[in-house]
């Protein structure tokens, strides 16, 4: 009989078994490596087969594209699936007109620049493809005599910044066709029927504005009969000007902070001034005049909504440059003050409704701009019955109406047109609801 196992010397127990187990482990590791190698070989073989097939499919697609009319290749961008040997290949075909002179999508300072040939590109991908290993074939198709409608023309758009540098990423739309400017700031719309088009340029995605300080600009363009029309536009990163306000009562040298509802920014190149803020809306101490095209010369800035609010000179007008992609220093505009008092005989009226109508400027709906106030305990115009007096108004001419309910019935008093245009002092006005008032409320 064998002695009990527990009596074996511990150092010698299971020695052969351990050897086998270690050997098996080593073998497993080696096997794993071998299998990995086999797997890699299989993958490479499969990938090679897919590449061969993808290349042939790409060539086939190039042949198909070459068989099409050039007009069909214009703006072509289509994707289709091609099943072959159990694999579904995705084939994307694109066409773009190229200018031979620049070897880029047609665009040049030369007014006679034209689209000389079409570059057709085929990209073939397949499921499980190694990233970035798609098959790409690119070739050109030259327009032969008669391959393009002779009455059609080409529209080329070149977009540069304030310094002349090309601007990429501006979205363009002409009729049904869309394109985006490339790195050279160019986009081409070949083979358009001759006539007039509205070219829409949109800089939202590129965060750039046109010279009217709008992201969306519209330009009327004419496409010539059998020729090329080059349109040059200017877009750049918008600048920003923070605007604050101040006023003074009388001729005192002490200015108080004021609030305003809108600011006008204008540059000589702009077709129309840009109004920031809301005419007749909430009055705020700071208005950011933003999304302004960064002209190298200055903007004219003044409070208000139309050119009649422009003081023309003095502290109510600022001339400031809007830096590209950043903000200028803070600007403070002085507003003329209307020193209004609403009373009933000798009694100051608190809570009266005050409507200040700009006699010259209209809002976006075509109505004269109205600013609404109430009166505080001093009978002065304010946002609330207990708020501070807000005498500041944009430079302009106004009709002032004050009304209040006194002894159960409304009393209203209107002023004649008052010019609030004194920056050296203030314009005083008293409306006495006890002196021959109308019996209704101000609008």
């Amino acid at each position: 009989m064998t002695p009990p196992r527990q009596k074996l010397p511990p150092a010698e127990a299971g020695f052969a078994l351990i050897e086998v187990v270690v050997s098996a482990a080593v073998l497993l590791v080696a096997s794993a490596g071998t299998f990995g190698l086999l797997q890699a070989m299989g993958d490479a073989s499969g990938d090679q087969r897919h590449r061969t097939q993808a290349y042939a499919i790409a060539q086939e697609d190039q042949a198909r594209l070459r068989s099409l009319r050039l007009t069909s290749l214009n703006h072509l961008d289509e994707t289709r699936n091609v099943p072959l040997a159990g694999t579904t290949f995705k084939v994307r075909s694109t066409g773009a007109f190229i200018n031979d002179k620049t070897a880029t999508v047609s665009c040049s300072s030369d007014a006679n620049a034209s689209a000389d040939y079409v570059q057709v590109t085929t990209v073939v991908t397949w499921p499980g493809m190694t990233s970035g290993q798609q098959t790409v074939l690119r070739s050109i198709v030259s327009p032969s005599n008669g391959s393009i409608e002779s009455s059609h023309g080409t529209l080329t758009v070149a977009i540069a910044g304030e310094t002349g540098a090309p601007k990429a990423g501006i979205d363009l739309k002409v009729g049904l066709f869309s394109d985006t400017t490339n790195a050279e700031g160019c986009a081409t719309f070949p083979d358009l029927a001759n006539g007039s088009y509205t070219l829409k340029s949109m800089g939202e995605d590129a965060n750039m504005v046109g010279t009217n300080s709008n992201f969306l600009e519209e330009t009327l363009v004419g496409v010539p009969f059998g020729g090329t029309k080059l349109v040059k536009l200017i877009y750049d990163s918008p600048g920003r000007i923070p605007v604050k306000f101040k006023y003074r009562l009388g001729s005192t040298g002490t200015f108080e902070a004021a609030s305003a509802d809108s600011v006008v920014a204008f540059h000589g190149v702009m077709k129309e001034a840009k109004v920031l803020g809301t005419a007749g809306g909430a009055r705020v101490p700071l208005i950011e005049a933003e999304d302004l095209f960064p002209f190298s010369s200055t903007y004219s800035l003044y409070a208000g909504t139309c050119d009649k609010n422009n003081p023309g000179i003095g502290a109510g007008l600022a001339n400031v440059v809007a830096p590209a992609g950043s903000a200028s220093g803070e600007v403070t505009l002085q507003l003329p003050a209307l020193d209004l008092t609403v009373k009933n005989g000798s009694e100051l009226i608190q809570g009266a409704k005050v409507t200040v109508t700009d006699k010259n400027c209209k809002d976006s709906k075509g109505n004269l701009v109205k600013r609404l106030y109430t009166t505080n305990a001093s009978g002065k115009q304010s946002a609330t019955t207990t708020g501070p007096t807000e005498p500041a108004l944009p430079w302009g001419s106004y009709e002032i109406c004050a009304s209040a309910k006194i002894s159960g019935s409304f009393r209203r008093k209107k002023s004649a047109t008052v010019a609030v245009q004194n920056l050296a002092g203030s314009t005083a006005l008293t409306l006495d609801l006890g002196n021959n008032p109308e019996s209704s409320e101000c609008p």
């Binding site: 009989m1 078994l17 299998f35 042949a63 068989s67």
Partner: protein, 232 residues
Amino acid sequence: MSVRRISSLREERGTTLVELMVATTAGMVVFFALTTIIVGTMRSSARIGARVEADQNARLASTRIMEQLRSSCVAPRVAPVRSGSTGTSLRFIHQVGSGAVLTPVLSKIELTGTTLVQYDYKAIPGSSAPNWSFDEATPVSQREIATGIAAIPPSSSIFTYKAYAKGAVSEVLPTPLSISNAPRAVAVSVALSASPRGTPVADAGRATQIQDTALLRLTSLAFDRETADPCM
């Protein structure tokens, strides 16, 4: 020391047998695993090798045919594909050179069994463009393009001939190409399946399928045309 060693050896007699049995069993398991791995490796290697060979066959066959088809416009308005071409037999003229008009070679690429064979015929001296005549009695050269070639099921054709219809190369011409249809063939599609020469292991996916098309045109279609002839 010697007394303790003798005592110790006496105690190990039965244990050695158990160890030997366990080790033998484990060894057998390892042996079978090793054998399986080796067999699997050999089969995989054979399968991969066969697939690579099939890929090369397919690529070689396709490239040879395509290169010649794309050199088939030897003169303007001369249709390269000849009548009598079928789904497994392509007859066309082609040539490579720098002249304005080249004297072409008539080639017939034919699938015989699973072998693609090309026969070349020389133009008869004295015949000229565009009505070359060829001595088709005896080929000047004959060569095997590839073996293990077949059509891609369910089709039984390797070659497909297409003509313009409604502004696109979309009309598939019936085969064998008639005398009236042959001059309309502006595109030839080649779709084939290539298998390796040997089949050392069973592999349903060993054959490579490939397809390509040669456009027999020099320019794109005019904007106001619905059809066009080859080599224009």
